[in-house]
């Protein structure tokens, strides 16, 4: 991934992004389908125009060629010899139509795809910004690997939303506009056929709508069933070995096949509805055609060549109406995607919006004495789960604390509360003598660093990953923190150095290495309070003890709290904090 490997200074990009984010926040929380067309309004209009030109050229090419042949046949050889038939102009006209049809189609496709890509970009940035506004407590649930399908579905839904402009709105507008042109021409040439044409064209244009409720309902059911299938499959896979060993697999496989079958039936119903729609369309087109044959017999004075032109034009219209057979399907998918997108993104986001006045400069941290105090603090992930007895403690700069207790006694919960990610159930938590929850989140995050048990390493370069914590850090600073966590040797082995891409597609770090890497990133943030959840799990104990020594030195001006279920004995710890086991 070359794009960010060399850009070691990213401040301008970041500045641009914050503008983008603040712009994104102005988008209404509840997305409506027509909002999809708003951000790239002119792009869509251009695509609309180009498509319209193409379709008119398509219909006209056939109609005009038909007229030309017929007129030529009527005029016959005699006309040429008399000089009354100019065949140069029709020739030029046909060539022009042929070329504008080709060029129009090419340009329209490029333009509408450009607009779609732009739309996807906006949607992705918007949904990212919307999720950013949610409190971490909610996000932790959403981003938990166990609920991974939620995010996958969000991304899939974003991709589905482009169906609305591409497969619903544009084709319908094109069909409507082209039909209107045809109607004008037909009304001028064959006035007595006008009511029939109007009726049939209106039917063609609006008949996809009668199925739209059905489509919406079916797409919703299909989506639900697809979700069920996915969920069922995931559950069965998670139990696979057990089920196999217990000899129940064949039943489970049958159950999965049944679910799949149900989904198939829904798919079939939807596909049949499209087939039905196509059938109705063709019948309407056929009746329009018969109407066209009947009308001239009522009015003899119209030139037969023009009748032929109208007939061929009508045939051309069928190509324009064909995409509308999918109309109810695409609309159904868009509506379902829109509903889920809104559900996921606009759930109440409880982030307090603080006035700028309460914002103090981060430099205050180093000025004042770093303290954190707990008075009768009650914590818990949710109030229903068993709680710890109320906690009272206070810590000041220079404290290196070992938070100890058996697994499951609430260490992680306590750390997350101290980090300000969990709401307090009772008592008081004071950071620098101020209640922690009153602090603006930016400030809170700046001053309190929290290293989770399973840290997330982003699929970015080493440098970009580290600079997430401190965008202005120089290469030397990066190397210093990596040295601190003893990853210099690892880095020196990477041929691309700081530009090495980490994560899923890049070269990997082992479990212990990724924990140390996340630690380095945290150190770059220089927090006043550093909370680490089992930072040494899976590390050799010698390395762990060296790391601890360095961490303690690094954090001299602040507080370091390390949670561990092991009883680590190290001179660096000057405080021990024992949590009682859960009251059972």
């Amino acid at each position: 991934m070359p794009e960010f490997s060399k850009s070691h200074t990213q401040t301008p990009v970041a500045a641009k992004a914050s503008a983008q984010l603040s712009a994104a926040t102005t988008v209404p929380l509840q997305l409506r389908l027509f909002d999809l067309l708003r951000p790239q309004r002119w792009s869509w209009r251009l695509a609309m125009l180009l498509g319209f030109i193409t379709l008119v050229a398509t219909v006209l090419l056939l109609a005009y060629s038909g007229w030309f042949i017929s007129a030529a046949a009527v005029a016959g050889i005699a006309a040429i010899q008399a000089g009354t038939f100019n065949y140069m102009r029709p020739g030029a006209m046909i060539r022009l139509l042929a070329i504008s049809r080709t060029a129009g189609r090419y340009a329209e496709k490029l333009q509408s795809h450009y607009a779609v890509l732009q739309l996807l970009k906006t949607l992705r940035l918007n949904s990212f910004a919307a999720l950013c506004r949610k409190p971490n407590q909610q996000l932790n649930y959403l981003t938990d690997p166990n609920h991974a399908d939620q995010l996958q579905r969000l991304i899939a839904d974003i991709d589905l939303l482009d169906q609305f402009p591409l497969k619903v709105w544009l084709p319908w507008l094109w069909a409507g506009a082209t039909a209107l042109c045809y109607l004008v021409a037909a009304g001028y040439l064959l006035p007595q056929g006008l009511p029939g044409f109007t009726l049939i064209l209106l039917l063609l244009l609006f008949q996809p709508l009668w199925l739209h409720l059905y489509g919406k309902n079916m797409c919703h059911r299909l989506n639900v069933q697809a979700g069920t299938r996915r969920q069922q499959l995931l559950h069965q896979l998670q139990l696979l070995t057990t089920t196999l060993m217990l000899g129940h697999w064949s039943e489970k496989a049958k159950m999965l096949a049944d679910t799949d079958h149900k989904l198939n039936l829904l798919q079939r119903a939807l596909q049949r509805s499209v087939v039905l729609q196509q059938g109705i369309q063709q019948l309407l087109l056929l009746s329009g055609f018969l109407c066209l044959l009947w009308a001239p017999s009522q009015q003899q004075q119209l030139a037969p060549a023009l009748v032929v032109a109208l007939a061929l034009g009508w045939l051309g219209l069928s190509e324009i109406f064909t995409p509308l057979a999918q109309f109810h399907l695409a609309l159904g998918y868009s509506l379902t995607a829109q509903k889920r997108y809104n559900e996921l993104l606009s759930a109440p986001s409880a982030e307090p919006v603080r006035p700028a006045t309460s914002q103090t400069k981060p430099t205050n941290v180093s000025a004042g004495e770093v303290t954190i105090e707990l008075h009768q603090l009650q914590i818990g992930f949710i109030s229903a789960l068993p709680q710890l007895p109320p906690l009272t403690a206070s810590f000041k700069a220079g404290d290196v604390v070992l938070l100890h207790g058996p697994s499951g006694c609430g260490k992680s919960c306590l750390l997350q509360t101290l980090a300000g990610d969990l709401t307090i159930l009772g008592g008081e938590l004071l950071w620098q003598k101020q209640p922690l929850h009153q602090l603006h989140s930016n400030q809170k995050y700046q001053q309190i660093g929290y290293g989770a048990q399973r840290p997330h390493i982003f699929n970015l370069t080493v440098a970009a990953n580290l600079r997430l914590a401190c965008p202005t850090a120089s290469d030397d600073e990066l190397l210093t923190v990596l040295h601190l966590v003893e990853l210099r040797a690892w880095l020196d082995k990477q041929p691309e150095g700081l530009a090495t891409v980490l994560g899923q597609y890049g070269c990997g770090l082992s479990g212990g290495e990724s924990r140390r890497f996340a630690l380095a990133r945290l150190l770059l943030q220089k927090p006043g309070l550093l909370l680490l959840d089992e930072p040494f799990a899976g590390l050799e104990q010698e390395l762990a003890s060296r790391l601890l020594q360095r961490l303690a030195e690094f954090q001299q001006q602040g507080i370091l709290i390390i949670a561990s279920h092991q009883q680590l004995q190290h001179p660096a710890f000057n405080r021990h904090w024992q949590l009682a086991p859960l009251l059972q």
């Binding site: 990212f128 971490n136 399908d149 899939a156 996915r230 998670q238 798919q267 196509q278 032929v308 003890s545």
Partner: protein, 593 residues
């Protein structure tokens, strides 16, 4: 995670292989499409006839109109039937592929993790398999249609004007040629585009997954910049691709339009007697001329359709590339997992195990190699060795998930693909993370014995020391646990899994690192519990915590896939534990409590 060995062939080969058994059906789908072409030709012929009558100012025959409507109607019916059958085949085939993949997973058992997390695998089996749809239902039959339909039209045109037919014939080979030239580039490019798309989605997914962390780092703005950059890259990249890809469509469009224009001019001039080589004479009757003109766009229509569906092919190939490794993975068990036999009565007494000349993996780099080993009934063994030394493979081998050469005898029955289901009734196998069903405790226990009574359940739960906890919950046996055992601690999860084993009375227990995720106190207690409840079972236990497992009979030590030694633990019990403890657990500085 990467599959160990990439199977031969490419994704395209797999796609062809999937469709090969259904070639006849694909042909059958194309048939209504092919039959619709003569109807189309007839429809156009009647249309031309009616137009000719109009031109001559003579009333046209009602039968012509009727026949025209009939042709129109028949053609529509045939095309719709074609779509319906095609979609049927697509659904059926996708179902089959899904079933096959599921059977593969069932055969791989715990080894499936090589092919991705369970979440990724479920995406593979659902969305990725569904991505084959467009190729099966549209592209494949269209490939046949594209050869047949223009031929019919060409013949019909040639009947009326050799020159017009030649004109079409000349442009016809140019079209596939251009399709190949542009299409090859376009397909290469569209693969890249799909990759980019997944990367762009992947980047968003990556950032959303780490969003709490991003917020903590105050880095959401930077992340948004990265996202915007990635999206911008994607946009630029895809526009480059699309410019090329749409060129192939544009070429077809151009041919179609130019051919109509040329034919129209030729026919028009012919009717006017203005053709240079046919001065002042009528070339062909008006009816034929109009007929040819009407067929002209239809000549290119199938090709244009194929061009439009080209991305369906790219999608299908990309999907095949995703699941190919799993689809072709080697495994031990037979495909027909459904034909398994149930042993209703399980032997309760302990069983013995014998191994002769076992080899797993390649001879040059074996993952596991055992010459001779016999484990007596009721023996309790510790399997030790560094990670990746073959301990887990050994357990998976006995559980029947690993392909091997050699001979494994379980209680005198040879382990092979037909006896595996029978033998599994005697084997209990537990992994590091207990596999629990989200639901009640009772649901979980009923997995092992569907007709277990409350008393029975209470009894086994008491044995694993879980009843004490549950009896204090108001729901008791109906205590609900969430995804991944949420609501129970790690130790409790293992206990519940052990309770399941006890319910089934299996004589052989294979436990793969049951203590790995537990803290010391918990694992000590669990170890003591194991000692009690595994009495009389043949027990094979993989663990690094030797100090707690002095009660086992024997140690099997593995190194680099070899069984290096077996050692009688019960004889020098004390020495071993102290040795292990001093070697492992006491580096300077951080001391054990």
């Amino acid at each position: 995670m990467q599959a160990q060995a990439e199977p031969a062939g490419t994704a395209t080969d797999l796609l062809n292989q999937l469709l090969r058994p259904h070639r006849a059906v694909v042909l059958l789908i194309a048939l209504p499409g092919i039959f619709s072409v003569p109807l189309l030709i007839a429809q156009m012929w009647y249309l031309a006839k009616i137009a000719a009558a109009l031109l001559a100012k003579s009333p046209f025959a009602g039968t012509d109109v009727f026949l025209l409507a009939l042709c129109w109607f028949g053609r529509t019916a045939l095309l719709l039937a074609k779509d319906d059958i095609a979609q049927h085949l697509s659904r059926k085939l996708r179902c089959q592929v899904r079933q096959h993949l599921l059977a593969q997973l069932a055969a791989l058992g715990p080894l499936r993790s090589r092919f991705g997390s369970d979440g990724a695998l479920s995406t593979l089996l659902t969305e990725q398999v569904d991505a084959l749809d467009g190729y099966i239902s549209r592209y494949a039959p269209q490939q046949i249609l594209v050869l047949a339909a223009p031929l019919f039209i060409l013949v019909a045109v040639a009947f009326h004007s050799i020159f017009a037919a030649l004109l079409l014939l000349l442009t016809a080979p140019l079209v596939p040629l251009f399709m190949v030239l542009v299409g090859r580039e376009a397909s290469k490019a569209s693969q890249q585009q799909l990759q980019l798309l997944s990367r762009m989605g992947g980047r968003l997914y990556d950032f959303l997954q780490g969003l709490p962390l991003l917020k903590r780092l105050n880095a959401t703005d930077i992340a948004a910049a990265h996202l915007e950059h990635a999206a911008g890259q994607y946009q630029q990249g895809s526009m480059k691709v699309l410019r090329l890809a749409f060129l192939s469509t544009a070429v077809l469009e151009l041919f179609s339009s130019v051919a109509i224009a040329l034919v129209a001019l030729y026919l028009g001039l012919g009717l006017l007697g203005e053709l240079p080589w046919h001065k002042a004479q009528l070339l062909l009757p008006y009816q034929s001329a109009l007929f040819i003109l009407l067929l002209c766009p239809e000549f290119y229509q199938p090709l244009r359709q194929l061009g439009t569906d080209y991305h369906a092919r790219a999608q299908a190939i990309a999907a095949c590339a995703e699941f190919r490794a799993l689809y072709q993975a080697e495994h031990n068990s037979p495909q027909k997992a459904a034909t398994q036999v149930y042993l209703v009565t399980c032997p309760v007494q302990a069983a013995e195990l014998n191994f002769h000349h076992i080899l797993v993996g390649d001879v040059s780099a074996p993952r596991l190699r055992i010459n001779e080993l016999s484990i007596k009934a009721g023996e309790q063994l510790l399997l030790s060795g560094p990670s990746g030394s073959g301990k887990s493979t050994f357990l998976q081998l006995i559980a029947g998930f690993v392909p091997f050469s050699g001979e494994v005898m379980v209680d005198g029955i040879r382990l092979n693909s037909s006896s595996i289901y029978q033998l599994r009734n005697q084997i209990g196998y537990l992994q590091q993370q207990a596999e629990l069903l989200p639901g009640t405790i009772a649901d979980n226990l009923k997995l092992a014995k569907s007709d277990a009574t409350g008393e029975e359940m209470q009894q086994v739960l008491t044995q694993v020391e879980l009843w004490d906890f549950l009896s204090r919950q108001p729901e008791g046996l109906d205590y609900r646990i969430g995804d991944f055992g949420a609501g129970l601690s790690g130790g409790q999860q293992q206990r519940l899994a052990l309770a399941r084993l006890l319910l089934q009375q299996k004589p052989i227990w294979l436990l793969d690192e049951p203590f790995a995720e537990l803290d010391e106190d918990t694992s000590l207690r669990l170890s003591a519990l194991l000692q009690r409840i595994s009495q009389g079972k043949t027990l094979l236990l993989v663990s690094h915590q030797f100090s707690q497992l002095g009660w086992l009979n024997r140690t099997l030590r593995f190194e680099q896939g070899q069984l290096v030694f077996t050692d009688d633990l019960s004889k020098n019990n004390k020495d071993n534990t102290t040795l292990a403890a001093s070697g492992q657990n006491t580096p300077p500085g951080v001391a054990d409590a």
